[in-house]
């Protein structure tokens, strides 16, 4: 049972959720790896293209160096920097200070040999003799048009193909991993359903027979025993209802109707009278008339039952319960042992129990939460250890 904590009995939705989480993570990791490979491939193709350009750029640079040499020798007569329509160029001294530039780029990485930036190729060469003080010469030419189109097309095609194959493999892999777990859960689900079904008939038989006994005709000792039996049967009946709700909730339709809450609450208090009496709990109510809610009667009764049964179960002997109904909501307050503040956020989790001195499976408040969620009701729990718990259902 512990392994099933937080597992929804609705296998298909939980499976789907896990499937999507796994596929999401798997796809993310796959994309990450593919992006890394694509990045490397793009870099490789770019370097290949640059290497192909290198020879012609080197020749152009030599031409420019020859012009610089000529300018250096005749500088007193001519001071015009040599320009060429095939390329832009710049010269830098040994402290990397720009001497002259016709480049589009403001900054150049002189530590590189050749590189691509903003669709232009930059070729850097170090001069042997520093004509005009130039130690580095940089040539700028536009990159060949659409050289990367082919690369992108290849990347998209092969990347998409590999990604698709990996996702399909991931899907099958997940199914393979989930199979044993799914089989176990199906088995458990079937067991709970069968057990629940088998419980129905005897519980109904006990309850209806107890109700048929006329207590007034019996002596007080026997009447007391019958009352105890009635309480015990109702407890089992409640448990049966909870289990039914849990197992069948996803297949159960809701029959929403206008429910008079005052009548319903009074009915539920009546249902718990024997249990209240057995613990000598006094119940006080403040129920306003004509407050209705469009809701499934059985579900609303289940919601109240679960809160009320907790208020009784965890109450002290001769404790008290206060129940109020107003247009804003229902408040059920008990004088019980309360819940530690640090544990309040866990109360709606299935199979969570803080006090094992009384019976239960820890599914009551989880059912309350599920019903409240279905009808957009707000459930607020305030509790102080050893002082009591206050549950407010508002709408």
């Amino acid at each position: 049972m512990l392994a099933l904590k937080n597992w929804d009995i609705n296998l298909r939705s939980s499976e789907k959720k896990t499937l999507w989480s796994f596929l999401g993570l798997y796809a993310f990791l796959t994309l990450l790896i593919l992006a890394f490979v694509a990045f490397l491939y793009y870099g490789f193709e770019r370097n290949l293209m640059l290497q192909n350009q290198k020879e012609s750029l080197s020749n152009l640079t030599n031409e420019q160096i020859a012009r610089l040499k000529s300018l250096h020798v005749n500088f007193e007569k001519e001071q015009t920097y040599p320009r060429d329509e095939r390329f832009n160029s710049a010269i830098y001294d040994s402290s990397l200070k720009q001497i002259f530039s016709t480049l589009h780029a403001k900054k150049v990485n002189l530590y590189e040999d050749i590189y691509l930036e903003n669709g232009r190729i930059y070729f850097i060469k170090e001069l042997e003799s520093y004509y005009l003080g130039a130690r580095y010469i940089v040539l700028e030419v536009p990159a060949p048009k659409r050289w990367d189109r082919k690369v992108y097309r290849k990347l998209l095609l092969y990347g998409g193909l590999i990604f698709g194959v990996l996702v399909v493999i991931g899907y099958f892999l997940l199914n393979l991993l989930l199979r044993p777990m799914r089989e176990t859960i199906v088995l458990l689900d079937r067991f709970i359903k069968d057990t629940t079904h088998e419980l129905n008939t005897p519980i109904n038989a006990i309850l209806s027979n107890i109700e048929m006994i006329e207590l007034e005709t019996l002596d007080s000792a026997l009447a007391k025993k019958i009352k105890r039996m009635s309480i015990a049967s109702k407890t089992i009946s409640n448990l049966y209802d909870d289990l039914t709700y849990l197992v069948l909730s996803n297949h159960m339709g809701s029959h929403d109707e206008s429910v008079d809450l005052k009548t319903l609450i009074e009915e539920r208090i009546e249902y718990f009278t024997l249990l209240l009496e057995s613990k000598k709990i006094t119940i006080s109510t403040d129920l306003q008339e004509n407050i209705t809610l469009i809701i499934d009667r059985k579900k609303m009764a289940k919601l109240i039952d679960n809160i009320l049964s907790n208020a009784i179960k965890y109450n002290t002997i001769q404790g008290s319960i206060y129940l109020s109904l107003s247009p804003e909501g229902i408040v059920i307050q008990d004088s019980g042992r309360g819940i530690q503040e640090s544990q309040i956020h866990q109360v709606f989790e299935r199979y969570t129990r803080f006090d094992r001195s009384v019976g239960g499976f820890g599914i009551g408040l989880n059912i309350v939460w599920a019903i409240a969620k279905e009808y957009s009701l707000h459930v607020k729990i305030d509790s102080q250890a050893n002082q009591g718990t206050r549950v407010k259902i508002s709408w």
Binding site: E76, Y130, L132, G133
Partner: protein
Amino acid sequence: MVKHILFLLVISSICCAKQNVYEQNCLSCHKELAVKIDKFFYRYLLKYSSEAEVKKAMMAYLKNPKKDTSILQDGLIQRFGVKKKTTLTDEKLKESIDIYWETYTVFSRLK
């Protein structure tokens, strides 16, 4: 006569005052040489590239001229020999080199 002498004195002092440390201590001798002073500049530039490196090399050479550290070709050194050590103070020498750099720098003259 006295007026004339005074006038000549004033004129000559104005002329002298206009000459800076570079013109007085460098250009005055280099003017007489077969190799003009700008040729030395371009040779320094060719070898040392940046302003800082050129000035540093010039400073070092002028303070301690040697055949090995000269930028002149061997033939020219053999013909003219190595110059004598400078008598200028570091400050004056630096000032002279700065003026020399500003006079012939190519960096701001390129167009």
